[in-house]
């Protein structure tokens, strides 16, 4: 792992297009500003991994049997159930 020392206000550049800036250091908390192109997803790692695990568990086969849900309550006024696009 590459380890760099940076002071508050300094940044690093990744791949010429991703800028990571140390905005502020407050005790044990470091505030980081990230500028990246829209097609580069940026996530907090623990949430990313939680959703990743959930997705992996959810992947299934098209013919899997689905559980039966009770009839939903009628939609509230002003809310619409969208149709397939």
């Amino acid at each position: 792992m590459l380890i760099l020392s940076r002071k508050s206000g300094e940044s690093i550049v990744i791949d010429g297009r991703i800028h990571v800036k140390i905005v502020r250091v407050e005790g044990e908390v470091v505030k980081i500003g990230i500028e990246a192109p829209a097609d580069v997803p940026v996530h907090r790692r623990e949430i990313y991994e939680e959703i990743q695990r959930s997705n992996q568990a959810a992947l299934t086969r098209q013919n899997a049997e689905l559980p039966k849900l009770p009839q939903p309550e009628p939609a509230k006024p002003g809310r619409t159930i969208s149709k397939v696009l």
Partner: protein, 148 residues
């Protein structure tokens, strides 16, 4: 109108009609970043569930559901960069689905932290990590018949 000419038939074939549309996910799903093209498939018999099926691999799919009925107070806060990425100009442009994990015939959970948001006008979608993810679970139980 002469009622003798009016014939009403419940046609099972009609209710089995399968609706389908293409969904493009330029960033993929988290953990499945390499898969960009999906089909959103609705089979009336399986409502309110739908399938988000990998376009070139029909055997791989995710079960999805609109959260509205089963989590009526769900208020996903979609970060502005994601709104821009999806090209959403108003909330009405967005369709929100949540990915369901079927644990068995009696247990299913839904991921409320990372909904799949689709721009209904363009078919472009993204799995969004909502800004208020801390308020929701990735394993919110669905009220499967017989368990609630």
């Amino acid at each position: 109108m002469n009622s003798a000419n009016v014939i009403e038939i419940e046609e099972p074939e009609m209710t089995e009609a399968i609706a389908c549309c293409e969904v493009r996910m330029p960033a993929g799903l988290l953990g499945f970043e390499h898969i960009k093209n999906y089909l959103l498939i609705a089979k009336p018999a399986e409502a309110p569930f739908r399938w988000l099926q990998v376009q070139n691999n029909p055997s791989l799919a995710f079960v999805v559901i609109e959260p509205l009925y089963f989590v009526p107070d769900y208020r996903p806060d979609i970060p502005q960069p994601d709104v821009d990425f999806l090209g959403l100009r108003s909330p009405e442009d967005a369709v929100v689905y949540n990915i369901v994990t079927v644990h068995g015939p009696r247990r299913a959970t839904v991921n409320l932290k990372g909904p799949v948001v689709i721009n209904r006008n363009t078919g472009v979608a993204k799995q969004v990590v909502i800004a208020n993810a801390v308020e929701y679970s990735v394993q919110h139980p669905l009220p499967v018949n017989g368990t609630v």
